[in-house]
C-alpha cells in the first residue's frame, strides 16, 4: 500500500513537471446547472514551496444544488366511521417469524367470519404487522403473509374474497413501542379494519 501511494506520488510529481498546466475539469460535469471553469489551468510545478504570491489555481464554481422539499398535505389516517362495526372484529396474534394460525386465532377468525356473514355489505382490510426484531425488508413480506393467512381462512369459511383486501405494515406500525417480549407479542398481529 505504502509503495503504491508513494509510487502514485512519484508519478504525479513527474506528471506535474512534464505536463504542468493540464486542466482538471472533471469536478464539474457538463450538464450541471451553474458550472464554469473560469480560468486556464495553473497546476504549477514551481519548486518554491512558499511562493509569496501563489499563482491562483483554476476557479471552479460550486454548483447550486438545492433539493426541493415536498409540501405535501399531511395525510389523515382514514378511520371508517364505523366504530361499532369495527369493535366487533378482533385482532389475532402470531409467534415470531411465523404466519401460522394458532387455535386461538382460528377461533377468533371464526367469530369474525360469523360477524361478516351477518353484515354482507361490509368490506374489510386485513393489516398484517410484525415485531421489531426481524429484518424490516423481510418483515414487510411476513406481515403480508400474516394478512393473507387470515384472509385465506375467512374465504374458506365462506366470506367472499372480494370483500377482503390485505395490507402489510411490516414492523412500521407497532401498537406497543416497547422492546420486550410483552410488546413484541402485541405487535405480531393482524388487524381487521372496516373500510366500507
Amino acid at each position: 500500500m505504502r509503495t503504491n501511494i508513494a509510487g502514485c506520488l512519484v508519478v504525479l510529481c513527474m506528471g506535474a513537471l512534464v505536463a504542468g498546466g493540464c486542466a482538471k475539469k472533471d469536478l464539474v460535469k457538463p450538464e450541471e446547472k451553474a458550472p464554469s471553469v473560469t480560468a486556464p489551468a495553473p497546476e504549477t510545478a514551481k519548486p518554491a514551496l512558499e511562493p509569496t504570491a501563489p499563482k491562483a489555481p483554476v476557479t471552479e464554481q460550486t454548483p447550486v444544488r438545492e433539493p426541493v422539499v415536498a409540501q405535501e398535505p399531511v395525510r389523515e389516517t382514514p378511520k371508517a366511521g364505523a366504530g361499532d362495526l369495527q369493535g366487533q372484529l378482533q385482532k389475532i396474534y402470531f409467534n415470531f417469524d411465523s404466519s401460522d394460525l394458532s387455535e386461538d386465532s382460528r377461533n377468533i377468525l371464526t367469530r369474525n367470519a360469523e360477524y361478516l356473514s351477518k353484515q354482507p355489505s361490509l368490506k374489510i382490510r386485513i393489516e398484517g404487522n410484525c415485531d421489531e426484531r426481524g429484518s424490516d425488508d423481510y418483515n414487510m413480506a411476513l406481515g403480508e403473509r400474516r394478512a393473507k393467512a387470515a384472509k385465506d381462512y375467512l374465504v374458506n369459511l365462506g366470506i367472499s374474497s372480494e370483500r377482503i383486501s390485505i395490507l402489510s405494515y411490516g414492523e412500521e406500525k407497532p401498537v406497543d413501542a416497547g422492546h420486550d417480549e410483552a410488546a413484541w407479542a402485541k405487535n405480531r398481529r393482524d388487524e381487521f379494519v372496516v373500510v366500507k
Binding site: C13, M14, E43, K46, P47, P57, T62, R75, A141, Y169
Partner: protein, 406 residues
C-alpha cells in the same frame, strides 16, 4: 515497478531525486500510513471567521482520516504532506483555495480554487478532499455525495438527505405517512422510495432538484425495496400483486414488468450486481431467510450464504467482488462475502447493525446501528475499520444510501 519509477524520477529531477528517497524514508512509519498535516485555514483577504477557521481543518481531517491511507497530523510541520487552505469572501461569494504540498520534494501536488455560496463552504472542502484522494490513490473520493435515509425525527418515517458526514440534514418528504427504502438513481439526481401516502405501499420516483414526482408502481400489495441497476435503466423491486412477495424488474418508468422469482416463499431485498447480470436477494424458501443469487432474468438461482440462520439485506460492492449483508444472531451484525460464497467476514460486533450499503466508490460501508442507543447511522471502511457515527440527531435513522458526487 517502483524502482523503474524512481529511476525515471531521478532522470527527470536530477539532484532533486535524492529528495524522493528521503521522502520514502519519511513515509515509512510503522503504521504504514502516510503522514498528512492539515494546516490552519489562512485568509485570502481580511480575517478568517472563527467558525471557518475551526470547521475547515476539521473537515479535511475527518474526510482524509476516515479515508484510510493517512495519519492525520495537526499543524504544518508534522507531515510529509501538507494540506493548506485559504478562505475569503467577495460579496456573496465564498472563495476557497486549497493546495496539497509535498514538503519533502518541495512540490505542490495539486491546487484548486473553488467559488460558490458561503453556505456551500463544506461542499467545496469535500470537493478538495475528493481531489486529494484522486491524486494520491488514483480514485476520486466520494465525499461530495449525499446520504439519503429514513428518519423518524418528525414523528413519522420521512425521507431525508444529508452530507456524507451527517451535516446539512434536509427533509425531502413531508406527508405524515410511512416512507421507506430510498435508493438513488446512478445520476444522483433522482430518488426512488416506497410511501404509504396514498394508503398502499407504492413506489415513487422523485426528481431531487425540481421536486417532480412520478408514481412508478401502484399495484395491489407491496411495491417496495426498489433499486436502480447501475446503468439507471432498470429497477428491481418486490411486488406482491400475485399473492406473495416476488422479485420483479421493470424499466425506470415502471414499464416492461418482468417477474424473476416464482415461489411460495418470501422473496425480498433485490440487489443488482454492478454489471447488471445478476441479482442477489433474500428468500426463506429453505425455511429461514438466506441470501441467494440469480441471473438477472431469474434463472440459475443458487444459495449464497450457508452459515447463520437468518441472513438478509444484501448489497453488491461497486466493483462486484463483495456482497455486504446483515446476519441475525440475537441482534444483527454486518458481514461481507464474495459472490461465490467464499471469504465470509464479520465486520461489526457492537450493538445491532443493519442496512449496510457501499459508498459509490466502494471504499466505505454505511449502515444503521443501535450501539449508542436508539438507531443511528454509521460509516466504516469496507474492511470494517474506522467505525464512526455520522447521524445528526438522536432520532431513529435507518436505510442509508449514498449517492454519486453531487
Amino acid at each position: 515497478m517502483m524502482r523503474i519509477l524512481l529511476i525515471l524520477l531521478l532522470l527527470v529531477l536530477g539532484p532533486q531525486g535524492f529528495a524522493a528517497e528521503s521522502y520514502l524514508d519519511v513515509t515509512a512509519p510503522t503504521s504504514g500510513k502516510m503522514k498528512l498535516a492539515i494546516g490552519p485555514t489562512t485568509a485570502l483577504s481580511g480575517a478568517v471567521p472563527g467558525d471557518v477557521a475551526r470547521e475547515l481543518p476539521e473537515l479535511f481531517g475527518f474526510d482524509l482520516g476516515i479515508a484510510g491511507p493517512f495519519e492525520i497530523a495537526p499543524g504544518e510541520a508534522a507531515g510529509a504532506l501538507l494540506l493548506k487552505s485559504a478562505y475569503g469572501v467577495q460579496g456573496d461569494t465564498a472563495i476557497l483555495e486549497c493546495r496539497l504540498v509535498d514538503q519533502v520534494l518541495n512540490k505542490e501536488i495539486i491546487a484548486k480554487r473553488y467559488s460558490g455560496r458561503v453556505k456551500d463552504l463544506r461542499r467545496m472542502g469535500h470537493a478538495f478532499s475528493d481531489e486529494v484522494l484522486r491524486v494520491l490513490t488514483g480514485e476520486k473520493g466520494p465525499f461530495t455525495g449525499k446520504i439519503a435515509y429514513v428518519s423518524k425525527a418528525s414523528g413519522n418515517k420521512e425521507i431525508y438527505i444529508m452530507d456524507y458526514d451527517g451535516h446539512n440534514p434536509q427533509r425531502l418528504t413531508n406527508n405524515g405517512s410511512i416512507n421507506l427504502y430510498p435508493d438513488f438513481a446512478p445520476s444522483g439526481k433522482e430518488l426512488i422510495y416506497t410511501s404509504y401516502k396514498k394508503g398502499n405501499p407504492d413506489l415513487y420516483r422523485r426528481e431531487l432538484f425540481t421536486g417532480q414526482e412520478a408514481r412508478l408502481s401502484s399495484r395491489s400489495g407491496l411495491n417496495a425495496m426498489g433499486v436502480f441497476s447501475q446503468d439507471g435503466n432498470k429497477i428491481a423491486l418486490v411486488l406482491s400483486k400475485d399473492g406473495n412477495s416476488e422479485i420483479y424488474q421493470m424499466s425506470r418508468d415502471g414499464k416492461d414488468l418482468v417477474r424473476l422469482t416464482n415461489n411460495h416463499a418470501i422473496d425480498v431485498s433485490p440487489a443488482w450486481s454492478p454489471d447488471g447480470s445478476r441479482i442477489a436477494f433474500v428468500s426463506d424458501r429453505l425455511g429461514k431467510p438466506q441470501l441467494f443469487v440469480m441471473d438477472a432474468n431469474g434463472g440459475n438461482v443458487r444459495r449464497l450464504t450457508t452459515n447463520g440462520a437468518y441472513n438478509v439485506t444484501p448489497r453488491w460492492s461497486p466493483k462486484g467482488d463483495r456482497i455486504v449483508y446483515s446476519r441475525k444472531e440475537g441482534g444483527f451484525q454486518i458481514h461481507a462475502i464474495s459472490p461465490d460464497g467464499s471469504g465470509d467476514a464479520q465486520l461489526t460486533s457492537a450493538g445491532s447493525n443493519e442496512h449496510p450499503r457501499y459508498s459509490p466508490d466502494g471504499r466505505f460501508i454505511i449502515f444503521s446501528s443501535t450501539r449508542d442507543g436508539g438507531e443511528g447511522l454509521y460509516l466504516m471502511r469496507a474492511d470494517g475499520s474506522g467505525q464512526t457515527r455520522i447521524s445528526p440527531d438522536r432520532a431513529q435513522n435507518t436505510h442509508p444510501t449514498w449517492s454519486v458526487n453531487w
